[in-house]
């Protein structure tokens, strides 16, 4: 048997797996094992340790942080199967992907689709190397769910645009280097007057003010543009094409907010297990409070059927080669259930589950409180639940536009 195995011809996949293992052994600093993607998120400053820097640069040089993006722009150029192997091996090694953020999740895929050759050459490689942070200039004080009502105006000044206006809910705006924004270039047409452009956050006239949220953190900002000069080269696509490009980008955003798999990892422990630590149990180990027990089971059954739905959506889209019809319900379901879980956790923990800060609370308890409050955003951003309902009714169920 042993000789048979030894002489078995190596497949391409085996060879690639070996290459990945070697790369990880050579480049992944052991001290980072089990850490998260500290730098790529939108919710922290950019300090990094030498080990984190080394790891980011190693992954960036290979393009493996953006494994399936084209090699010519600094991506990994891997097939889906190879990317899967990379993910598996990184998981085994406890290695995180140091390349991320909105540049990877939303902007990059959109620019690859709509950007000019020059724009791709300029912007994609730094994203692949994790060197540039992008933020999203979409919402405005009077353009939330009615996003196309945006008023930030880019006036044509011949060789450049002059941008004036205000964006809000700019995630990570205080740490971002650049902003992809939808702005108005024509006031006569609501949708066709919108253009998609790229703005340097250090341009004169850009001012960022963090907004303190009910969770006590400031992950979002108000961003003010006063006579900001934007080179014409920074227009993506054509003038007036911004609504189309901007909507395409939102599809990437929704996919990232709803994904059942990653939510499942976040959710972790069963609520029943947690409840047993906070609540009295009977001799048989059952929760003594039968009403609470019922509530937890009711939630967990619905949570399970949501996870099964997320899995089914993946299987269907793989088999059909397109987006499954049920993907449209994942954001709506996943965000609502996550909120419900946070509320149940408070009910389980009582006042111990409402600690704001200080002694007497475990980290897990304090994190849950902040998570509960921050989680209220999930049914509002990325297209609110009400907007998702409109999309399902009109696009999937074929119900007519309301008046």
């Amino acid at each position: 048997m042993a000789t048979q195995l030894d002489t078995r011809p190596q497949t391409d996949e085996d060879a690639f797996r070996a290459e990945v293992q070697q790369f990880l052994a050579d480049n992944f600093p052991a001290e980072l094992k089990g850490q998260n993607n500290a730098l790529a998120g939108v919710d922290g400053p950019t300090d990094e340790t030498p080990a984190q820097k080394k790891w980011r640069e190693a992954m960036g040089a290979r393009g493996w942080g953006t494994p399936t993006w084209p090699k010519e722009y600094g991506g990994g150029g891997l097939t889906k199967a190879q990317a899967k192997i990379l993910e598996q091996e990184m998981g085994k090694a406890g290695a995180y992907n140091p390349i991320g953020g909105m540049g990877v999740m939303m902007f990059g895929p959109t620019l690859l689709e709509y950007g000019s050759e020059e724009q791709k050459q300029e912007h994609i490689p730094p994203i692949c190397r994790g060197e540039v942070r992008w933020c999203q200039g979409y919402s405005e004080p009077n353009a939330g769910s009615d996003l196309a009502n945006l008023q930030t105006f880019a006036e044509d000044k011949g060789d450049h645009y002059l941008v004036n206006g205000q964006k809000t809910w700019t995630s990570g705006g205080q740490w971002a280097d650049k902003c992809f924004a939808i702005v108005r270039t024509d006031k006569s047409d609501k949708h066709k007057g919108i253009s998609f452009m790229l703005i340097d956050m250090d341009s004169p006239g850009v001012e960022v003010r963090p907004i303190t949220m009910i969770s006590g953190t400031s992950p979002f900002c108000e961003t003010f543009f006063t006579d900001v000069k934007v080179p014409k080269d920074n227009l993506v696509g054509e003038e007036g094409q911004g609504w189309t490009i901007g909507k395409r980008l939102l599809q990437h955003e929704r996919t990232n907010i709803s994904g059942g798999g990653s939510l499942a990892r976040l959710m972790g422990q069963s609520l029943g297990e947690i409840a047993k630590k906070y609540q009295p149990t009977g001799e048989d180990g059952e929760l003594a409070d039968a009403v609470l027990r019922d509530k937890i089971a009711d939630f967990e059954i619905r949570w399970n059927s949501f996870l099964l739905t997320a899995r089914r959506a993946v299987e269907e889209s793989k088999a059909q080669g397109g987006v499954s019809e049920i993907s449209s319900v994942l954001k709506k379901l996943g965000t609502k259930l996550s909120q419900e879980r946070s509320e149940l956790l408070i009910e389980i923990r009582g006042l111990q589950g409402l600690g704001w800060e200080g002694d007497g609370f475990r980290d897990s308890e304090l994190e849950a409180v902040r998570g509960w409050l921050f989680g209220k955003a999930t049914t509002i951003y990325g297209g609110s639940t009400e907007i998702q309902n409109n999309i399902i009714a009109k696009r999937v169920l074929g119900m007519l536009d309301h008046q």
Binding site: I301, E315, K332, L333, L397, M399
Partner: protein, 356 residues
């Protein structure tokens, strides 16, 4: 919809074509009008058996096709859509009991007959109006079984009863010592309290202590598949109605208040389908069956309950009439919700399985 193989797609398409053309809800209306307590069309059942549907889970050596529960569920879902009255679900569940717990002789005697449609079988477990397999008093002594089973599905047509007694499951043939008291329920299908008075009983001796639970889990996933078909049909009918009914000079489908309710139901239905299909697949995989079947039936109960109520409300007054089908789904829905575990019973079981 789960990703199907070629055989399963063919089976589903065949079932869909047959139910739509040969067994629409008007056929159920005929069954109801006949007033026969067994409440199904024997010719239709013979045709279904000829198409192989009674033997989908039965091994080939006993005359079945051995396609498994996911495949059986596909057929049952289509039957649910048109409320096709038949003993197919209960016969399939009874066959699974024999497959899990029967001796070679018992299998050889019954499975070919069940697969061919020559014999009809059912499951008799509960002794009260609510599902409670933990309080069974029916007992056997000297090969004679005595006790009364409540609200047995498809009892009138059954040639064979799989009966839960204090020490396990038994096969009891109709005839001496078996008497039926018809119980008419809202679904107008066959239900009866069945009294066994020293009836000859043949034990299903294999399958271990968990046999009853294993068989009930198979009942749960198949009944859930029927409920899935019903929920899908009520949803589709309601959506079609909203698209054609005009009030205030516009179709109802253009009102946002109704659009969002339909979006909610669509999401519920997606969860129900995922849970039911996962339950059927778990039985075929032989892994995590208790948990998956609990989730499947619990979600089927929750979602069909909601959709059957919303279906009536969204149809408005016309939905209250006997002329419209939507009320039939409501009346069958509650019967199936109460059978083999209500949502509250299933939640208790889920908590127990999860050790809290």
């Amino acid at each position: 919809m789960a990703v199907l193989n070629e055989e399963q797609e063919m089976l589903r398409d065949m079932a869909r074509e047959w139910t739509v053309n040969e067994s629409p809800v008007t056929e159920f209306r005929k069954v109801r009008a006949s007033g026969e307590p067994e409440a199904f069309n024997r010719d239709a059942y013979a045709t279904m058996a000829e198409m192989g549907w009674a033997g989908v889970i039965i091994p080939e050596e006993h005359g079945g096709s051995d396609f498994g529960f996911m495949s059986a569920g596909l057929v049952v879902e289509e039957l649910g859509k048109t409320l096709t009255a038949s003993p197919l679900v209960m016969t399939t569940v009874a066959a699974s009991a024999i497959m899990l717990g029967g001796s070679d002789e018992q299998k050889a005697k019954w499975l070919p007959k069940l697969a061919s449609g020559e014999a009809i079988a059912t499951l008799a477990v509960d002794e009260s109006p609510t599902h409670d397999p933990s309080t069974i008093e029916t007992s056997v002594s000297g090969g004679k079984l005595s006790g009364t089973k409540a609200f047995v599905h498809e009892a009138h047509g059954a040639d064979l009863f799989v009966v839960a007694a204090t020490d396990g499951l038994y096969l009891v043939e109709k005839g001496n010592g078996v008497s039926l008291a018809t119980r008419k329920l809202t679904d107008q299908r066959s239900h009866a309290d069945v009294t066994f008075d020293g009836a000859a009983a043949d034990k299903l001796a294999n399958g271990g202590d968990g046999l009853l639970d294993d068989v009930l889990d198979r009942a749960r996933v198949l009944v859930a598949a029927e409920m899935l078909g019903m929920a899908q049909q009520v949803f589709d009918d309601t959506l079609a109605y909203l698209k054609q009914r005009v009030q205030f000079n516009q179709v109802l489908a253009s009102f946002q208040a109704l659009q969002h309710r339909m979006a909610d139901l669509f999401a519920d239905l997606a969860q129900m389908r995922s849970a039911v299909e996962a339950g059927l697949q778990a039985v075929d995989a032989g892994f995590g069956v208790a948990r998956a079947a609990t989730i499947a039936k619990a979600e089927a109960n929750r979602v069909l309950h909601t959709i059957s109520n919303e279906g009536i409300q969204l149809h408005g007054g016309i939905g209250m009439t006997d002329e419209y089908d939507v009320g039939f789904y409501l009346k069958r829905a509650r019967v199936l919700e109460a059978s083999f575990g209500s949502r509250s019973w299933l939640k208790k079981r889920f908590a127990k399985l999860s050790s809290y």
